[in-house]
Symmetry: C2
Subunit: 176 residues, 2 copies
């Protein structure tokens, strides 16, 4: 994942990957049928982990505001800790076969829908004001994922401060 993130899927050779884990290139084929499947497996595992982690962290209940704050903080924390996987899972979609692409994209859709449901619940409860829940969900995810482009662990702000800043933005965005 690190090599794919740093150099791009096509620019990384099976020999480089093998060297990174201390074997010869041929040995990799005991674990993956080909290079493409290796990429797909990495992506699928990342998306699986994302969905499972949110499922474990979603407070549920009937307080959409609390759930949205939990989502905001979860998304930032999860994604900054796995920046390579996030980058690869978005950027290397084009290197997947049609059916593998569809599988990863479907998992992304499911994740978006998790957020959309929170937004709809808040809208129905009258605590959120939004015209297009699906678009707002994608906008919020783009906003939050953007943290990855600038956040560094050694930076001025720690993760909790970043979460608070972004929760403030997300809150305003949906409360009008």
């Amino acid at each position: 994942m690190r090599l794919f993130a740093r150099h791009g899927f096509a620019a990384v050779s099976m020999r480089q990957i093998a060297n990174e884990v201390g074997v010869q290139a041929g040995a990799l084929y005991n674990y993956t049928p080909d290079k493409q499947s290796l990429l797909f497996d990495l992506m699928r595992e990342h998306m699986d982990a994302l969905l499972a982690a949110w499922q474990a962290e979603d407070p549920g209940g009937d307080d959409p505001r609390a759930r949205l704050e939990a989502f905001t903080r979860f998304h930032i924390r999860f994604n900054t800790r796995r920046a390579d996987a996030v980058f690869v899972s978005y950027m290397e979609l084009r290197n997947l076969t049609a059916e593998n692409f569809e599988a990863v994209t479907e998992m992304r859709r499911v994740y978006e829908t998790r957020l959309e449901e929170i937004l709809c619940a808040g809208k129905d409860a009258g605590v959120f004001t939004l015209a297009e829940p699906r678009i707002t969900a994608m906008a919020v995810i783009a906003l939050l994922t953007g943290v990855n482009t600038w956040y560094r662990e050694a930076g001025r702000l720690n993760l909790d401060e970043v979460e608070t800043l972004y929760w403030d933005m997300v809150r305003r965005l949906v409360e009008g």
Copy 2:
């Protein structure tokens, strides 16, 4: 740019590029010293065009709210019309030499600063409420650029409707 966006820089050969413009691979070297410079030139021209286009469209003046709306609409319109260039200029930064990377990144910083200045002006004028202008600027840009992941010309919403939806979100985000 289309080939780089679709397949990735490393996955596109000089022979493919040459074929796309109807010459042999060798002829390309009358226009670029090597493949890397070709990528850099495409990126630099894109960033140049972005900065120049905003400079031409910025209403200026002392109405930060109007300027922010202009920025929002400009960014969406410009970026959706050049989706390939936007994608490449973000994703393929890693394929640049250190100095070329710095050059493109600097232009990106300038663009972010254009927005940051508007936010600061609004903050000083008391019409915007925000604690971290730089971070808010990057957050807004990430939010707006996210349109590219889902917007299609043939979709349900036309560009003006999308701009209005996002301006509504940006407005809330800064007005608190």
